[in-house]
Symmetry: C2
Subunit: 351 residues, 2 copies
């Protein structure tokens, strides 16, 4: 494989510009898995997911335990595909949307491997994969597992209204994906791999003062704009360098805002852009308004649709940018704004 | 400085045993800061903290905003001490106890630097410092800031009862520290440094089936035991290798359980052991029952008391093990257990 000219395969990673990282040796996504709920299984990507639940309880008694079951299933499946034993997973990087990340705690405890807990709202898949990749490239681990999830019912209870309340959903609202994605990362010397991670641009919190938790796309689009802008600048790349530029869960409303904000900076990504929240549901048939959202949205679309196209060399490289809205029930009720954050990963076809 | 014989200063980090990491080149804690509330200022370590608030509101209108103000102040002070500009901080690693880590989101947004959000309950200081150190040792950053906090009133509201309820506290209860600690990490080639990070043992979730959220020490002691056991085994060290073995917030109740559990494994750390939750308050004068707890407990005691002794060469090396209890209001009310997690850092005197 051709390495970036500025780096060597044995050197340290390279700091690029204001905030980006070029990995001196790419980190491999060896295997991945996606487990989703019934609604996601009925959507346009339905046939690409590894497992689709027949209901959204996954054998559990509460929504929170159902989300833990999702993570547990996705993690086990991802490890199983790799042929590794669980003991060979050096570390787990995981997080979710629930208070104190309990879906991860109760979903992954049985694996009995050291856990780095992360929280980045719906940007968590990129956050966990970034930190997993850096840990591998530092030599501190050879195999790590990155897991995230969301569940429609546990998220509605956590952030908005109990389902029983039957509140009306505005057009700008997104539908939280019931799903979990798991990714097994390893060194590039492995035979089997779905894609390579070659660059990372971690994002900062961007607050445009929006207070509408029913319009997450508008809350997160400025953060996605900021990280895409810095990424292209740090690596001196143009949007056309990528076959696809894929945001996490901006939905239809957020997508329009993102394209407009980038145009104001002289950047046009219309040709390359899509959004996991747009890909996962059919808005007319599935009544999902602006699209899908949640940690599980970007994670399951990455595992099913995006990595498939990279692995099969349909695309050479993509920029993957999960987006998160930073609010809690308390911060919202206390009248705070909903700032956004987004992290960008460069993913390439395996050689 | 003498390096570990198994590593070289230019090589990658070394995986040790089942789960530990030996840093090939130590990462420096360049500066640190501690900002605490009134009660902490009146405790045995009061004179060692950088700033003590006159009330626990820190100029804010809500407990949550007060906690954000704590983080903001600690972060700014830590950067100020280093003489660096905020733009020179490559990344921030931060987390707290509140749902969706909002104390960090709203406390650190104004720094406008990329943020890696982490969640490890009260073990978060070790989690953020571990990931910050690995990021530096991978070459992906030269300077990172690690910040954590807790606030007595926001934590009681988040996990137990509103203060106005005036519930009785059992003898096993700990008192959540109102405080924030910030740590600026950098490469070892810097002149100024308080201590060196030379090893990391990330911990796994350990669940002894305890369901009493008023006895966090008992919930966390098995996780502390597990990580200390693996650390000593992975590095083939004895407790006497360390001048101090310092857990995060087990308190008096958890300490006894930890010592007993380790004795059952043939390990005696009685001579070396202390606990940040025991050091920070006077239990008789301050009515703090089992001791202090919260992310801010281990973080502020590290910045004030532990790093002082390392910097002044009173101690040569310590094992620092913040401990976390993995529960949320929802998981507790749904009848779940309270599992524990703990991460261990090897901290050494600067050369």
């Amino acid at each position: 494989m051709k390495l970036n000219e500025n780096t060597s395969s044995h050197g340290k990673n390279k700091m690029m510009g204001n905030r980006s990282i070029s990995l001196s040796e790419p980190v491999a996504i060896i295997t991945s898995s996606s487990v989703v709920g019934k609604k996601e299984g009925q959507g346009p990507l339905g046939s690409l997911f590894d497992q689709v639940g027949s209901d959204d309880m996954f054998g559990a008694k509460t929504w929170e335990e159902a989300e833990s079951a999702l993570q547990s299933t996705a993690a086990s499946l991802c490890i199983e595909k790799s042929g590794l034993r669980t003991e060979e997973i050096r570390y787990i990087f995981a997080g979710d949307l629930l208070g104190q990340c309990i879906a991860s705690s109760f979903g992954l405890a049985d694996l009995k491997r050291p856990l780095f807990g992360v929280y980045g709202a719906c940007s968590t898949s990129a956050l966990s994969i970034s930190l997993g990749a850096l840990t591998i490239s530092s030599g501190a681990a050879d195999k790590v597992l990155c897991v995230t999830s969301s569940h429609f019912a546990s998220a509605e209870k956590e952030f908005r209204f109990p389902l029983e309340y039957g509140n009306q959903r505005p057009k700008s609202a997104t539908w939280t994906v019931t799903g979990s994605g798991a990714f097994l990362l390893g060194e590039n010397n492995t035979e089997k791999k779905r894609a390579l991670i070659t660059g990372i641009t971690p994002g900062q919190i961007v607050d445009y003062g929006i207070k509408d938790s029913m319009n997450m796309g508008a809350c997160m689009a400025p953060a996605a704009c900021d990280v895409i802008y810095h990424h292209l600048k740090d690596f001196t790349r143009k949007p056309s360098y990528y076959d696809k530029i894929v945001t996490g869960d901006l939905g239809y409303v957020g997508k329009e805002i993102l394209l407009q904000l980038l145009k104001e900076k002289g950047i046009n990504i219309e040709k390359q852009h899509t959004d996991c929240g747009i890909e996962i549901y059919d808005p007319l048939l599935q009544d999902t308004n602006s699209g899908g959202s949640g940690c599980g949205c970007a994670a399951t679309v990455l595992s099913s649709y995006l990595l498939k196209n990279l692995e099969e060399h349909q695309w050479k490289r993509i920029l993957f940018i999960p987006t998160g809205a930073l609010l809690s029930k308390v911060s919202f009720n206390e009248g705070n704004t909903v700032p956004g954050i987004a992290h960008a990963l460069v993913l390439e076809s395996p050689s």
